[in-house]
Subunit: 235 residues, 2 copies
């Protein structure tokens, strides 16, 4: 059996060994869900940035630019962090540059892993199958909210620990806790997560459609990984 | 309703507001359990130290000195981190100086709170009642293991969130997650926690008696708090 661990915050990722592992970065509301939606609907590749300024600067190289801070589209950006903006294929064939409050930071802090995958519910089963094909230890890296634990990323972690049960052993405490949490609450993701602080934050912004999309399982048979250039692409 | 939050690691405590709150520091295996046992069995006060050297230096001022690193008694110390060492009252009337791998660090990082309490299962109900008498927001500060999430501290957090349900609302994601976890696994603390990484670590050191003590509920009608001098005493 391989092992699976869960890290609840980018501020704790330095405590984990990344080398040789598959790191699955998760920011359910909404960065990683948006990345999956974008690539599923024709975006050719995604470059992520930690800072707004760096991301803005690349717009003259043909990139569609997406910038989000505190749940809102950042000033000067074409796109915010909404997955539904990509669903009708308006941006097919474009390259995307993204920076978000939590998710893109978590991706950058995952550098050094054997493979970096982008985790979301809409491509959950495809990601699970891909992980099982690689036969590597897994570290689920929850983006959280400004360094703090959040419910939606950790519940995804619990779902993935559960789905990997036959190939990956949850020997570490974070994985054990989230497995138990998912076993208790996973039958009603939307109900349980409606309590989550970030879902409430998003509801205040009137983006219920985004929440629905982010919690829908297996819309796409698609795996998103970081390639050797540091771009997110279809695996 | 007051609020209750859970912080899973001393490395995340800087993200939380402490001012005006009751901070309950938890290091179930074993620092906070040992503090409760010591004060219940005649130790008059406890001074905590982050560093081994500082703690050793105070032994010539009449302190019994306890030092633990990585689960073992540190070289040169009279006591390690075992709660059962205090149960027969051999050290009644003594002052205790302690330093441990995780717990004493978490206590020091709780400075600035309105009140700092020491949480453990053997004084669980007494601590719950005391908190409810104060009518303040609560932050449960889990010591974890070297900065990482651990199962025993977070399950205590879930138990306390549950016990405070009528007075304190778990609006924050960590509290919501641990409440659900405790509701699922709290009926069999010892069974669930036998999987925990630190319980396994302790079992390797042959201290099953310590584990049993640390998971026993309500042996003492005792509340442990930090006084104005920075000493841990009976409230």
């Amino acid at each position: 059996m391989r092992k699976v661990e869960v890290c609840f915050s980018p501020e704790l990722i330095h405590l984990y060994e990344l080398e040789g592992k598959i790191v699955v970065v998760v920011d359910i509301f909404r960065a990683t869900s948006t990345m999956v939606a974008a690539l599923a609907h024709g975006i050719t590749e995604i470059k992520t940035f930690a800072e707004l300024e760096e991301c803005l600067a690349i717009s003259d190289q043909g990139y569609l630019i997406a910038g989000e801070r505190d749940g809102l589209t950042a000033p000067g950006f074409e796109m915010g962090n909404s997955p539904v903006a990509y669903l009708n294929g308006d941006f097919a064939g474009r390259k995307l540059a993204m920076t978000t409050t939590n998710g893109t930071q978590a991706i950058h802090k995952s550098a050094g892993a054997f493979e970096i995958l982008i985790g979301a519910f809409p491509n959950f089963a495809a990601t699970t199958r891909y992980i099982q094909s690689l036969e590597r230890d897994v570290l689920i890296h929850c983006a959280g909210w400004k360094g703090r634990f959040n419910l939606e990323d950790s519940l995804y972690a619990g779902a993935l620990v559960k789905a990997l049960e036959k190939s990956h052993s949850p020997e570490e405490d974070g994985a054990l806790a989230m497995l138990a949490l998912f076993e208790k609450e996973g039958h009603d993701l939307k109900g349980f997560l409606s309590q989550a602080s970030h879902a409430k934050r998003l509801q205040n912004h009137h983006i219920e459609n985004d929440i629905d999309f982010c919690l829908t399982l297996d819309l796409y048979n698609l795996v998103v990984k970081m390639d050797a250039r540091g771009f997110l692409v279809k695996a």
